[in-house]
Structure formats: structure tokens, C-alpha cells
Assembly symmetry: C2
Homo-oligomer: 237 residues x 2
């Protein structure tokens, strides 16, 4: 990786400037397992050399990393590609929001539980406001719409926000959203579980544009279950 911010900016933008390369990056990031040059070549209809060139540029830009593995039948070790460990953060002008968020969480950890409870409420209102400002697809859904329609609009909203998510409809109108990457990434990793309620509050706020939905934790932290809050239709939050 390059040493200064300027050098990093140069390498990252060079890596990302090609549309095929961006597609390859998405492909590798979404796969969940290390990917070989051959797989990329096949998936994108490229010659192996071209695929390798793209992959190596993504490695140079710090977006992917490479591991070398010997196959079962021996021979030359093959290069396998997977997402970089380090996340990439680029701001213009340069900003250090992640650092700020970490310092703030640390300070909040030293305060009482009631601060954390307040946080979820703040998050709800903020999510609702963000959804309105960004003209969320959820704002175009009627409060009486079927869960299926809400699920689709939520999925579109999440994609618009750049969040990698799998949204599906379960039985009894429950919508399940699985976040493949946490929007609060490294900060959340440092303070496990602490920020999940902030995230859930945010999503509840965004969903509130399409009626009254409650968002609960699913089987894991990054799986949310949204269900329509029929009882509280008339109640003020």
C-alpha cells in the first residue's frame, strides 16, 4: 500500500477507473470464497492474462488481496483473490470520520445505559430524515402496501445507499434483511454489538416512510427482521 494519502488516491482511482475492474471487484467481494484467475476469466469472458492484469491492479489499489495456494495435484501454486482486510476510505477533502466515530463511541461507553437507549431514538429520526432527503423508494410505497412491495422498495433503498444486503420475504409478512457488510464496519468491530441498535434504529426510521415497521435482531447481529406494527398504527412514537 502507498504511504501517503495522495499516493493512495492515485492507486485507488487507477484501480477503479475501469468498469470491468469495478465489476470484478464486486464479483470477488460478493463471492465469500477466494476466487481464481480462471474463474474471473470465465465469468467475464476474458483471456486469463487480461483477468490477471485486472486482478493485480485491484490488489495494487488495496481493494483485493491475493493468497497463493498449492492445488491437490501439486504443481505451481495458484493465485486466489479475496477482498482486502483493510477497508478503503477516501474523502475529498480529506476527512477522518471513522476516527471521530471511534473516539465518540469510546466516550459514550463511559456514560450510562440511558445514553445508549437515547441513541436508538436519535437513529430512528435520523434514518427517517435521511430517507426523505434522498427521496427513498420507500416514500413512494403506500402504508397499506403488501409486505412484498415494501421488501422490494427497501432493497432498492439499500442498494441506493451502497449497502450490500440480501432482502427476502419470510412467512407472515416478515421481511428479512441480511447485511453482507456492516455500514459501521471497523467501529462496530471494535465495540461488538454496541452499534447494532443504532443501525436497527436507522432502518426502522427509513422503513417508517412506508408505514409503521418494527425492526428486530434476527439470528445474528447482521440479520434484521422487519414486521408491520399493526397494533400501533394510530399511536405516536
Amino acid at each position: 500500500m502507498a504511504a501517503t494519502y495522495k499516493e493512495r488516491l492515485a492507486e485507488v482511482s487507477a484501480a477503479l477507473a475501469d468498469p470491468t475492474r469495478r465489476e470484478i471487484m464486486d464479483y470477488v467481494s460478493a463471492s465469500g470464497t477466494p476466487i481464481s484467475v480462471r474463474e474471473v476469466a470465465q465469468a467475464f469472458g476474458l483471456h486469463a492474462n487480461a483477468a490477471r492484469l485486472h486482478l493485480d491492479k485491484l490488489v495494487k489499489g488495496g481493494l483485493l488481496r491475493v493468497v497463493r495456494m498449492r492445488g491437490k495435484r501439486g504443481g505451481r501454486p495458484a493465485s486466489l483473490y479475496l477482498p482486502a482486510d483493510e477497508e478503503l476510505e477516501l474523502h475529498l477533502p480529506p476527512r477522518h470520520y471513522r476516527l471521530l466515530a471511534e473516539i465518540l463511541v469510546e466516550a459514550l461507553c463511559a456514560t450510562g445505559e440511558e445514553t445508549w437507549e437515547r441513541l436508538r431514538d436519535h437513529s430512528y429520526w435520523r434514518g427517517r430524515q435521511e430517507g426523505m432527503n434522498a427521496s427513498s423508494p420507500l416514500a413512494r410505497v403506500s402504508p397499506r402496501a403488501e409486505a412484498e412491495e415494501v421488501a422490494r422498495a427497501w432493497g432498492d433503498d439499500l442498494e441506493k445507499r451502497g449497502l450490500r444486503t440480501r432482502v427476502r420475504l419470510l412467512e407472515r409478512g416478515i421481511i428479512e434483511a441480511t447485511f453482507l457488510a456492516c455500514p459501521f464496519g471497523e467501529v462496530s468491530k471494535r465495540y461488538p454489538g454496541r452499534l447494532c441498535s443504532v443501525h436497527r434504529g436507522l432502518e426502522e426510521g427509513v422503513l417508517s416512510l412506508a408505514g409503521r415497521w418494527t425492526v428486530e435482531r434476527g439470528e445474528q447481529d447482521c440479520v434484521f427482521l422487519a414486521r408491520k406494527d399493526e397494533a400501533s398504527q394510530g399511536r405516536d412514537r
Copy 2:
């Protein structure tokens, strides 16, 4: 500006992939006044058409904006370029740290003053730790070094962190650092003055690698004055 995260990523990386374009962006950002095509062409030894092409790509990428102004002698209005109002934030995988920081500041504002005082302490230690992890040039400066040397190393450290700053030595060994862009940008704008002590704490922490320095507010929020804390050499912080 493009609507989705993916489209934005495409436009931004296209805008930034060219080294001359990155230089032009820096040039316009640093100038402080709107810049004409002709000025850019002269500064970079380019034909006016080439300069305009670069500038327009930067506008398309959301990095600069353009205003049209009629000159004193009438005639066609000229295009002048200046930094975009909206800051650019790019994360891979997508992260929403700015939003998180805003929600956290909001929650902290509802707590007592003592939380904010604790924040400065957190920031000091975090700055010190960051400086060590990043092998800051300040860590290679002897605690007995002249202020001039510390100023130089601090400037190098700030540049490495991508922060646009002017560092100079005043009389009596006081170092003045002027931040041309706040590392906490939009969050700081939303809560004016609140985060300056966090930033000062961070810089004090980084500077502590080169001895004991106190960082105070200069004439404005974004001007810091660092002076060697002679009295407290032996004292534990």
C-alpha cells in the same frame, strides 16, 4: 451527480484516474478563489481545450463545481471553477461513518459537560496511538529537538494523513498550524465548535511523540498554537 453509489463510484474514479486531473483538483482546492480555464491552462502548460476537458470531468465527478460570470468588459460569460460544496465520501466496502459520527455527537450533546471533557483526554491518547501505529515522522524527533524540527515533522505527519495544513514557526518556539480543511468537516459544521477540542486533543497526542507540547486555540477555530510544555517535563499526564 449520479444517483446510486455504484454510479458515483464510476464517475469519481473516472475523474480521479488521471494524474494531471488530480493535480488540477488540488490546485483549484488550494487557491481559495474561483479559477478560470485560462489560469489552469497556464499553470499546467496545457491548451485551453485540454484544461477545460479536465475541469469538466472533475465537475462531472462531483469534485469541483462551475459558476459562470460575466467579465467587466461584457462579452461571453466565463466559466470559473471552485471546489464542490458537497464533500465526497467513498468507502469500500460501503461505510457510513459520517452518519454514525453525527448520531453519536447528537447523543453526546444530550449528556453533561463532563463527557466533553473526557473526550479531549480520549482524543489525546488516540492521537498518540495513531501516530505510533503510522510511524509518524514526529516519533523520530528527539524530545530535545528545536521547535523548527518539530514543526517540519508535524507538517510531514499532517501531509501523510492527507490534511491540508499550513505549518509555520512563530516567535518564542510557538508552532502555528492552520487547517485549511477540518478533518471532521460536515459533522463539525453541524455542531460548531464542539469538535475542535477533540481535534486539538488528537494533535496534542500526535505531538507528544516529540516531547510534551500543549495545543491551544489560535485566533480562529482552525488555527492551532503548539508550545513546548517546559514546566511539566517530568509530570505524568
